[in-house]
């Protein structure tokens, strides 16, 4: 890992955690729990995910002494959660079902002619940035709604990748999915958001 400021901060935090400093745990909880929940929610529902993450934090108290810094603290925590969630899943006989054989959302796929050209091209301007789009609070609410409607596995993989990990190899390792499945999952979710923004801009409706 290159010696960045983030890395130095993390090393300091690890030392404080290893010394059993309660304030360091409060800081770590607020920094890392959202990503840990995203991992757990890939495997299970919201309330079980919270229980799993809680169990993991108490395990971290005894396990942090053995943390050697080979992976980042974030990745180490994500792996603990994934293992714990997989064990719970085995206990409850649940399986994560994901079928992403098609790379295009049906709603988008139907917008091409048989020769592969657009029949209904995108109606969005290319000048709007994500920042300017988010200035519209109603669009932010609409985004919340659409993200909450994504299949759980797709949504949590997406949040884990976009908001917490950014490294597809780590996300695949943590969630136990192939690179190609992860790519399709991310691509399909982005298309859904694209379609949502387009509809919102055209009609002003969510």
């Amino acid at each position: 890992m290159p010696p960045t400021r983030e890395h130095d901060d993390e090393q300091q935090l690890v030392l404080r955690l290893q010394a059993g400093e309660a304030a360091a745990y409060r800081e770590a909880v607020r920094r890392y729990t959202p990503g840990m929940l995203a991992v757990a929610r890939y495997y299970t529902d919201h309330s079980s995910a919270e229980d799993i993450v809680q169990e993991c934090w108490t395990r971290v108290v005894s396990a942090i002494a053995s943390f050697e810094g080979r992976a980042s603290l974030k990745t180490w925590l994500h792996r603990i959660v994934a293992n714990q969630a997989k064990n719970s899943l085995r206990r409850s006989q649940r399986e994560v079902q994901t079928d992403f054989s098609e790379a295009l959302e049906p709603q988008l796929a139907s917008r091409f002619r048989s020769d592969g050209r657009w029949s209904q091209p995108p109606q969005l301007s290319t000048r709007e940035t994500a920042e300017s789009l988010l200035e519209n609070g109603a669009l932010g609410d609409c985004l919340d709604k659409h993200l909450s409607q994504l299949p759980e596995a797709q949504r949590s993989a997406l949040m884990l990748y976009e908001a917490h990990q950014r490294q597809s190899a780590e996300v695949c390792n943590i969630l136990g999915v192939s690179t190609s499945n992860l790519r399709v999952m991310l691509h399909r979710a982005r298309q859904k958001i694209f379609l949502m923004v387009e509809h919102f801009q055209e009609t002003g409706q969510c």
Partner: protein
Amino acid sequence: MLMCRDLAVIASDYIEGDLPLTQRLSVRTHLMMCRHCRSFVANLRNSIELMKGHSDQRLDDRYARRLDEEIERALASQSKDGSGPDQG
């Protein structure tokens, strides 16, 4: 020749820089000629940015406090056992 539909299939890989050189050049050539696909790619990039800033990163206060309490209990029991780090 790369068609609009083909480009839509690999647009995320293009944005992430995951395409081999020949495919990347085909995409660039296509984008130079096709404003619809330029719009699609630009707005797919926006979708990524929108999700990065999404509120899922917020942590519920009550839940965070519940975790604090559990951790404090675990720390206290560890120090009582004498198995853990000295908290003094």
